[in-house]
């Protein structure tokens, strides 16, 4: 399904350094930043499981806490979609950059965002990643390379392209990955962004997280054909569709794409089929609105990659991982609870830098 991938045989690989692109102008006089060591972490079933299970459980805890009204923030859960963020981020290093969406918990955590800050942010507390000013829809952790997200669909796509442009101008050895939904690809700005990224051969991976729906509107109500990759190819962006939702396959495809990007070959496009188990927004079950056949979701749940990954791990190791994660989550909730609300004066801070 993903032709030409050879690196996927090993769970360990090292990113090939992106050789400096040819300098088109004679007058470049900019400082070249210190070379980043783009080493990508090792991954095994255990590390994948840890990440998948952690995201799943964080979101389940949000579901549990939600009726208590302590999280006064609309939440767009990624339950069921964890493998996309985990798989792609496994092909990235810390100084690679990701941009995502309001459905950002999984990406934030997969990229290494701080769990305490996230939880405090959801609670609207001062120790939140944005001091409580942003909520679930706008998570950020610059140290982890997780840029801010947006509640306006598709808006971060050109930001990612702009960031990739800066990387290219500075001859840095990093790449950007931008995550967006199938719905976002309806927007004109997505096309404008793909065209420009391809034109300039920017170091960017477009990741279309295709859960089949924009809120309750299926792809078939929004596109004449289900052909995301074909559209990307019309911009001369090499494209891959991963249908299985398997973390390892997604990681392999992303890694393959990342290698090409780091070589200076320009953007790549990755479509990952996935499924949202919960309602578009809020903690409820997705089925309550009856907008899609139960079987569709059942099929995805049967293939749940969190469970599948778990099943490949020795029971003792698995319990140890789970216990560790549970402790971390409990601590994060306690941290969020303990954190104070921002002071009233903070209302007027940060409007300008």
């Amino acid at each position: 399904m993903i032709p030409g991938i050879t690196i996927s045989k090993s769970t360990l690989y090292v990113v090939i350094f992106w050789s400096n692109a040819p300098i088109s102008s004679k007058n470049i006089s900019w400082k070249l930043p210190a070379t980043h060591r783009g080493k990508v972490a090792e991954h095994t079933d255990e590390t994948f499981y840890r990440s998948l299970y952690r995201i799943r459980r964080v979101e389940e805890e949000i579901v549990r806490l939600y009726p208590s009204d302590r999280i006064k923030s609309p939440v767009h859960l990624s339950i069921g979609q964890e493998s996309v963020s985990v798989g792609v981020c496994a092909a990235l290093s810390t100084n690679d950059i990701v941009f995502g969406t309001y459905r950002g918990h999984a990406l934030y955590l997969a990229k290494g965002g701080d769990l305490n800050s996230m939880m405090a942010e959801l609670f609207g507390k001062r120790d939140g990643s944005a001091r409580g000013k942003a909520g679930s829809m706008h998570l950020i952790d610059l140290g982890a390379g997780m840029m801010g997200t947006s509640a306006i669909v598709a808006t971060t796509i050109p930001h990612a392209v702009g960031y990739a442009l800066a990387i290219q101008m500075r001859r840095e050895n990093r790449i950007v990955a931008v995550f967006f939904g199938d719905g976002a690809s309806d927007e004109g700005v997505f096309h404008e962004s793909m065209n420009f990224a391809a034109l300039k051969k920017l170091p960017i991976l477009f990741v279309c997280e295709n859960n089949g729906y924009a809120i309750y509107s299926p792809v078939s109500d929004r596109m004449p054909a289900d052909n995301f990759c074909e559209r990307a190819e019309s911009y001369r962006i090499p494209s891959t569709r991963v249908q299985s939702g398997k973390t390892t396959e997604i990681r392999d495809a992303a890694a393959h794409a990342a290698v090409a990007i780091r070589k200076g070959n320009g953007p790549q496009f990755l479509e990952c089929l996935t499924a949202r188990w919960r309602d578009h927004v809020g903690p409820d079950e997705d089925r309550i609105w009856n907008y899609r056949p139960d079987s569709e979701l059942d099929d995805w749940i049967a293939r749940d990659d969190v469970a599948a990954t778990a099943s490949r791990i020795d029971q003792a190791r698995r319990s140890a991982i789970e216990a560790e994660v549970e402790r971390e989550i409990a601590d994060a909730i306690a941290f969020a609870e303990a954190s104070p609300y921002p002071a009233m004066e903070e209302l007027n801070e940060h409007v300008f830098r």
């Binding site: 609309p74 942003a134 004109g188 809120i215 109500d221 927004v281 009856n290 921002p342 009233m344 903070e346």
Partner: protein, 349 residues
């Protein structure tokens, strides 16, 4: 309950308006993201596709810019599209079509064509809607000639203004506030129009005129209530439409009370309040200018955390205090007044 005092919620009133107009005129259709889903835009478009067919109430791709252009094109062909946006913030993607085309077509072509579109924009608030899901953009549209702006507050006016907007031959921005949706009020069963450019005096008073925009009217009424108990008699005015704006009713009231407070559901700079104050100072120059003040959102983006969100917006209490200070010239602490539509809000968003 006789049919003369039948009560509906704000969202039911909108639903009834659009149903009646769709029945009356086959040129009317409704489209926008999610208008035909199970939630039916908070009920305001529920079932329209079943009643009038899927061609007349349909979902769209996420493509606000083109869909605005599609509305304009259909209007140029004689249709009367209603384009619905779950958040008014999304209109920022539609500005080119709305301002460069819709607002100008009649003028540019010297009346050869016109653009009868209704653009419904819902203003979000509460439960951490945050900076990008809580904006009201009416001042942009008030600034530009050729486009009308209405912001009804009561269920009665919601229905009558929506019918009037649909029948209007010009582009109309129809502002709805999410916090108004649950309000109940008497709504006649027949189809009727609430004319634009006629403000309503909701409570009469002698000491201060308070003009509110959209949901802020509710807070202004709360303020008037506590002001009365503090011995200040407030006249609360709902402009209903912002373009055209009924400055005469506001001016007459302010001339009487000698104090004017304008409470906007947006930032104050270059906002509705600026406009009202400026018009009054220009026109009332000779007769003595009332004491005037504007209120609105804090001059910041909207924070999500509840404590900051609460002080970001004017409230019944802060409005009462501001009005009191205007009239009495001294500080006073008004009692807190619960705004249950806010404190009890838990979605749907």
């Amino acid at each position: 309950m006789s049919s003369a005092d039948r009560e509906l919620t704000y969202s039911e009133a909108l639903h009834e308006a659009v149903r009646q107009e769709m029945s009356r005129n086959s040129d009317v259709f409704v489209f926008g993201l999610g208008v035909d889903d199970a939630k039916g835009m908070y009920g305001t478009t529920a079932g329209l596709h079943e009643e009038f067919g899927t061609e007349r109430n349909f979902d769209t791709p996420l493509a606000e810019d083109a869909m605005t252009g599609v509305a304009i094109g259909a209007a140029l062909a004689g249709m009367r599209p209603i384009h619905v946006h779950q958040r008014m913030d999304f209109l920022l993607l539609c500005m080119n079509q709305l301002i460069n085309i819709a607002a100008k077509a009649s003028y540019m072509y010297a009346g050869a064509c016109h653009v009868p579109i209704v653009v419904r924009g819902i203003i979000g608030r509460s439960w951490g809607q945050g900076a990008q899901h809580s904006q009201a953009l009416h001042s942009f549209f008030m600034h530009v000639p050729g486009i009308k702006v209405v912001a009804p507050t009561t269920p009665h006016d919601a229905k009558g203004c929506l019918i009037a907007a649909i029948r209007d031959d010009n582009p109309v921005i129809f502002m709805e506030h999410r916090m108004l949706y649950g309000n109940r009020g008497v709504v006649p069963e027949n189809d009727y129009e609430v004319p634009f450019g006629q403000a309503r005096i909701l409570t009469s008073g002698n000491d201060v005129t308070i003009v509110g925009v959209s949901h802020m009217i509710v807070e202004c009424l709360r303020a008037a209530h506590v002001l009365r108990e503090a011995g200040v008699s407030a006249e609360v005015i709902d402009p209903v439409s912002l373009a055209p704006l009924d400055i005469d009713t506001i001016a007459a009231s302010a001339r009487k009370t000698k104090h004017l407070l304008v409470v906007d559901t947006s930032w104050t700079t270059c906002g509705t309040g600026s406009e009202i104050l400026a018009q009054l100072v220009e026109s009332l120059g000779e007769e003595g200018i009332p004491k005037m003040k504007r209120m609105g959102y804090a001059p910041t983006p909207c924070p999500t955390t509840r404590p900051l969100e609460d002080i970001y917006y004017p409230s019944g209490q802060t409005i009462a205090e501001a009005a009191h200070a205007l009239v009495r010239g001294r500080d006073w602490t008004a009692p807190q007044i619960e705004a249950r539509e806010i404190s009890e809000f838990r979605g749907p968003f």
